[in-house]
Symmetry: C2
Subunit: 399 residues, 2 copies
């Protein structure tokens, strides 16, 4: 962590909160009690009005910034944006990051032990929706004695949580930042999610979700799900830059030929891995399948599919946002085809029609959906400027 020490939040220690009141889910099912694991960065001021909630996406967790130890090699997943002097400036804000219910990072989820059976919940853990997460985050907010979030921020699935906060608890947040998100999934997105679920549940090691009881892991299925996901998080152009022969209209020559074939152009003429992109995907899938819980993956994709704020409002999204009072910042990335700019622009139109205060910026970026994790200067500047305006509105600048 030496190199990033200047702007890093440094060593962070997660904190677990126990909730003893039952949580009634959107499905009607009840979680009688549960834990939420969190991290926080920066200091809560006296007025307790400088808190920001970070909502994570499909495979994220509470570890958004800093390091868990001196020996940890990689910082939290959004360390590029969160820290002293960074876009989400911990010199100004108290930043709270939480692992969602159903996750596998330490909050209660399918890998937790069900005290009734003494075994992991596994497939008995109920389907969770974005609304349920927001409800659990609201309770966390109460425990933290925070009256109103300065902002709720999230990318992708995280942006959906920010949307739901704005709809459900309009008086509880000043700003909602939805990055690379959508008002609801496209059919194509649902289709990709279903293929991922199919690959997991049809893995013979899935055991109807009770793989932990069988000392097993549907590793191949999870690996495949991640490989598919990974392709869709990268743009075609990013993959061409990274792995491909790049044609340029002017030159008609390969711009770079490096790395397309593993063995410097020698093809195996077998059903082997010949291209670097293949081994890269294998590596990504392998790593993920060793570190993530398959049941959690199923739950997270289902939460994505189900998200549709209009269902409570006569299928009218504009009506859904009619009560929202916070300021919105929407950000999309030019080459993101999983949550393309069109989806963000639709949300802008909906918010405008609901008379919301909305800013929108489309960032030019090669990295596809993954761009939301990159410290792209214009993107960081947009976050910083929006949050600075909110900070200036706070009554108590001194902590």
């Amino acid at each position: 962590m030496a190199n990033s020490s200047i702007t890093s939040v440094g060593i962070v220690t997660p904190e677990v909160f126990h909730f003893k009141d039952p949580l009634i889910l959107r499905s009607g099912k009840i979680i009688p009690y549960y834990d939420l694991i969190t991290e926080s960065y920066g200091e809560l001021n006296k007025k307790k009005d400088n808190a920001i909630l970070i909502c994570h996406a499909l495979s994220g967790d509470h570890h958004a910034a800093g390091f868990h130890s001196e020996s940890e090699k990689k910082p939290g997943w959004w360390d590029s944006a969160i820290g002293p002097g960074k876009a989400i400036d911990t010199n100004l804000f108290y930043v709270v990051s939480v692992n969602n219910l159903g996750g596998c990072g330490g909050s209660t989820g399918p890998t937790s032990v069900n005290s009734v059976t003494g075994k992991p919940f596994g497939p008995d853990f109920p389907v969770i929706t974005v609304a349920d997460w927001v409800e659990s985050q609201k309770r966390l907010m109460e425990v933290l004695n925070i009256e109103k979030w300065a902002a709720v921020i999230g990318g992708s699935l995280g942006g959906m949580q920010a949307q739901h906060w704005a709809i459900e608890y309009p008086e509880k947040l000043r700003g909602a930042i939805c990055i690379a998100s959508a008002a609801k999934l496209s059919a194509q997105n649902i289709a990709f999610n279903e293929v991922a679920r199919h690959s997991i549940t049809k893995d013979p090691n899935f055991h109807d979700g009770r793989y932990l009881e069988h000392n097993s892991n549907p590793k191949q299925g999870l690996m495949l799900a991640r490989m598919i996901g990974h392709i869709t998080y990268l743009s075609d152009s990013a993959m061409r830059l990274k792995f491909g022969k790049e044609f340029t209209g002017d030159q008609l020559k390969p711009e770079k030929n490096v790395g397309r074939n593993l063995k410097s152009g020698e093809l195996s003429y077998e059903l082997n891995v010949d291209f670097e992109v293949e081994s890269y995907l294998h590596y990504q899938g392998e790593r993920f399948s060793n570190n993530f819980d398959a049941n959690t993956y199923l739950l997270m994709t289902k939460a994505l599919d189900y998200f549709d704020p209009s269902t409570d409002f006569n299928n009218d999204l504009s009506e859904a946002f009619a009560g929202a009072t916070c300021k919105f910042l929407l950000i999309s990335f030019s080459t993101d085809w999983r949550f393309p700019p069109e989806r963000s622009r639709e949300l802008v139109e909906i918010l405008l029609s609901a008379s919301c205060d909305v800013s929108y910026i489309e960032i030019e970026a090669d990295e596809g959906h993954d761009a939301f994790l990159m410290p792209i200067p214009k993107y960081m500047e947009a976050l910083r400027a929006f949050l600075k305006n909110i900070y200036n509105e706070l009554e108590d600048h001194a902590s």
Copy 2:
């Protein structure tokens, strides 16, 4: 078949050709003898110069047009384009369609019995390249006593065969029509193919490719491969039209809400199939996995990945096409993101730089890559006009 009888080629009977001379493959391996199954439509004229070769794509076969029996419900895969009076007019041309080597439609492939072992070839069937297919098609041409194809036509992987014909046997064809094709695959395309292969080969019923000997079928893997493929053959917009709530910028209202949720809006809040697109994908995958051979799927995707005409020409695609003398027609579809218009435009640039005679049209179509199978009027007109010009060049118009 009653409705399409006027422009249908009617009942067709496949024909099998036996080849006894060994075929030396690009890999160095040898196929000692083999069968090719074909269909033909229309009549070969006296000069034998009105023959067209149809090359199929990944999951295609020789059955391109007409019906195998009065009771067959669906005609061949390209019946919309091939027939009397149709774009590929069997009143003018003699159309030959062949199932490629390694296929599972009746030509020698992994499901064929290896006479040495008495068992199916399975995984022992060698990896086949586009160049190998063209070589086998050249031998078929000789058997048919055809001196020069009026045209070689193919979509996707079929378009790659047309390209290779133009490079390898320039004097043997007047026209090459490459539809929704590319000079080589993008890294993204190779990545999707690798995920498909991974899902097949990791299916426990794959048995290292010897599933037939085990009376088995890697059905789940093949189903998954097809589901992924199917998503990528459809455009996002096509899926939205077919399954999605459709936003329109003006109205901000769902244009149609039908069919998104299976049970008229009732969500299961279980890990079930809730959305119509999910059950549609299951159906497509299920059907395909009952009718296609997994080893063939592996071979076909590998042929796609390997295609790169520049490898024999100092990695210079322009040099590869320098010897081509036929006319080219390239066609792409606006919403095709698996073989997008950019890839066809690159090929146009390459062909122009090689001083080839090339026409190019980009067709506006919602259907994505699948558009190449649709009878879109402008598309059909482009095919018809190009072929009519070739027909007018033929010396002997009367058959």
